[in-house]
């Protein structure tokens, strides 16, 4: 079935070649990092997690977002999503693959990565993260592939696959909850130490994941004969709107707790992110203020815009709005959350973080690899679906 990914028109091959070039650049940069050490990146003693972990955190959300297609169709028989659940499952596969690649890229001793399995540590959340991420990858890959294969052969899928799909639904919630637990259980980081971090993660996941799905569906509609259908896309937009409203509501709750209680531990990071923070010597640090305010602006505007039915009529507008929400949440979760958690440091110093060129190269390479995996899987899926429908 995967041989369908080996045929395509010139645009397809151009796209794949561009991705391969980016992957090659990323691979080269990684060899440099492997030989030099993680000092190759912009991380420092005070900001010990950077772009890699932030991308991983965001992408776990995108992967979990795939459940928003699976749940209505498999649990509630919402037939409209029937044709496109495979898109959600395969997007989850690509996203989780990227997560695992980012984690490996971030390890100081990647050759020892299997120590997490050799020395299982149930009291460490990273151990559970390893389990749930790999489990989710397996569930979606096997489940999606088997169902697609059955469709290709025009036979009903085997009964055991249904169990995998049903397990994948609460599992999707668990992957992002466990990722949130990585952050919200650490006593020294007050920006992360909040019970609402997991609900926030889930809300932004269910807005960002389906946003990317809508964009993919629109791209597929433009470049192939596969049309997800107006009803499916509208329903997805409804889900995105509600999830985004919830997300910004949660952000509002955080802002209230921080600024009404006036407790410095709660306020300091939000100050740094949105207004800039001064250290004890009076130096102002504000390198994330621009991106964070931009993220808030486009995120809230796009969410409000999506409330109006007229905005959903034109697919071009829909694409821009979904892109805006995706970008806004990428900045908020990708940059704001992880980098903000390290400012101020436990000793009340402020160290800012800028990714290095090589770090950006590796990040781009991993995103390109994810896009590569996604393209192959999507090409296979829609080839099967289109062949079946003709």
């Amino acid at each position: 079935m995967i041989e369908k990914a080996l045929t395509g028109d010139s645009r397809y091959w151009t796209w794949m070649t561009c991705l391969l070039v980016l992957m090659g650049i990323g691979g080269f940069c990684y060899t440099q990092q492997f030989n030099y050490g993680l000092g190759y990146t912009g991380m420092s003693r005070d900001v010990s997690w950077g772009l890699y972990i932030s991308q991983f955190t965001f992408l776990v959300g995108v992967a979990a977002g795939g459940v928003m297609l699976v749940l209505p169709y498999y649990l509630h028989n919402y037939k409209v999503f029937g044709r496109i659940t495979i898109l959600g499952e395969f997007m989850a596969v690509a996203a989780v693959s990227m997560c695992l690649m980012f984690i490996l890229a971030d390890l100081g001793q990647p050759m020892r990565a299997l120590n997490v399995i050799l020395h299982p540590t149930p009291h460490s959340i990273l151990f559970w993260d390893m389990i749930v991420l790999n489990g989710y990858l397996f569930l979606n890959l096997v489940g999606g592939w088997v169902i697609l294969n059955s469709e290709k052969k025009q036979v009903p899928p085997p009964k055991w696959v249904k169990s995998l799909i049903y397990i994948s639904i609460p599992w999707a919630i668990s992957i992002h909850t466990v990722t949130a637990f990585l952050y919200c259980g650490l006593p020294g980081r007050h920006y992360w130490l909040t019970a609402i971090l997991a609900p926030r993660f889930l809300a932004s996941a269910f807005a960002a994941g389906p946003s990317l799905l809508v964009i993919c569906a629109l791209v597929l509609r433009r470049y192939t004969d596969f049309d997800a259908g107006k009803e499916a896309i509208n329903k997805l937009l409804t889900i995105i709107t509600y999830a985004a409203i919830l997300n910004f509501f949660f952000v509002g709750l955080e802002l209230f707790v921080a600024y009404y209680s006036q407790i410095p531990g709660h306020m300091d990071t939000i100050d740094y992110l949105f207004f800039g923070l001064k250290d004890a010597d009076g130096i102002m640090y504000n390198n994330l203020v621009g991106p964070m305010r931009f993220s808030a602006l486009i995120g809230i505007s796009a969410t409000i815009a999506l409330l109006f039915p007229k905005m959903r009529e034109n697919y071009c507008t829909v694409g821009w709005l979904c892109g805006a929400i995706f970008l806004s949440l990428w900045i908020d979760k990708g940059l704001g959350l992880v980098l903000g958690g390290f400012v101020p440091s436990p000793l009340e110093y402020i160290t800012e973080y800028y990714p290095s060129a090589g770090e950006l190269g590796i990040t781009l390479g991993v995103w390109a690899t994810g896009a590569f995996i996604l393209t192959i899987l999507y090409k296979t899926a829609i080839s099967v679906k289109l062949a079946k429908e003709s």
């Binding site: 030099y36 003693r45 390890l107 100081g108 120590n115 009291h123 959340i125 650490l186 020294g188 000793l347």
Partner: protein, 271 residues
């Protein structure tokens, strides 16, 4: 595929898995001489994976008299030099890659939870020796996915650099900023190698290890050895009511760093 061929492949697959899995299980169960690493999940035999809030058993700790350090400004430098030189701690010369096991902070950075509004001049200038607190309830040990950092039987929060995968979760978890990471190969930046102690390699986290190697030889930790003649540091078993350090704690008022977090640090400061 017809049924008999499917059946054959299923049986072949299961046999292969059993064939690979069985000898391994057999070996580890029967041999008894399991790799010592899998048998020792942490330290205390009775306790759970590394998280030990032991009220019984040995609990080594420090009392640091900051006033004595203030009286002799050179003392803190000598403590730091003693520690960093015998442990081959590198000096990269920049803040980004910095590795430090023990260093000096001022009052407002070491005790941010204490009011900074109106601080006496004397306190403002106190040099606070800052190092790993060797917490009794350490968030870093909870966080480590490989038990590369763990509590040992003497109450020290230890590290096994062989097992560290460099994920830096412990660095995120530590509320005191006590940990450093080897962002690059440290060897070229070690001023003078001490041949009696290893270095670390790039990609692992490191911190104060309570001089476990010196304690094993009956010596005091390096910083304590330097500071003790001046009465600036006390070291001993916090759980032993007759030890010198317990007497000091009974007589003097001490504070700790961020006590509200419940980490139960083993370092007390006389301010």
């Amino acid at each position: 595929m017809d049924n008999s061929r499917r059946k054959f492949l299923k049986i072949a697959g299961l046999t292969a898995i059993a064939g690979i899995g069985a000898p391994t299980a057999f070996n580890s169960l029967l041999k008894g001489e399991v790799h010592a690493s899998t048998a020792t999940e942490g330290c205390y035999p009775a306790a759970e994976h590394g998280v030990v809030t032991a009220t019984s058993g040995k609990r080594l700790g420090f009392v640091i008299d900051t006033k004595k350090f203030a009286a002799d400004r050179d003392l803190s430098k000598r403590c730091i030099e003693a520690c960093h030189s015998i442990h081959n701690v590198p000096d990269f010369g920049n803040k980004k890659d910095e590795i430090k096991w023990i260093w000096v902070e001022n009052y407002e950075h070491a005790f941010p939870d204490n009011s900074q509004q109106k601080v006496s001049e004397e306190v403002e200038k106190l040099p606070i020796m800052t190092l790993c607190n060797h917490c009794q309830n350490p968030p870093c040990v909870r966080a480590c996915p490989t038990q590369a950092t763990f509590k040992n039987a003497e109450g020290a929060t230890m590290m096994d650099f062989h097992r560290c995968i460099g994920c830096r979760f412990c660095m995120a978890a530590c509320p005191y900023g006590a940990r450093s990471f080897n962002w690059r190969d440290p060897r070229p930046f070690i001023k003078k190698e001490n041949p009696e102690f290893p270095t670390r390699m790039r990609g692992v986290v490191e911190k104060c290890l309570m001089c476990y190697e010196r304690l094993a030889e009956g010596k005091l930790p390096a910083c304590v050895e330097v500071a003790q003649p001046a009465g600036a540091m006390f070291f001993g078993d916090l759980n032993d009511p007759s030890s010198e350090i317990s007497q000091v704690l009974k007589e003097k008022f001490t504070i700790q760093r961020k006590p509200s977090l419940g980490t139960k640090p083993s370092i007390f400061y006389i301010i």
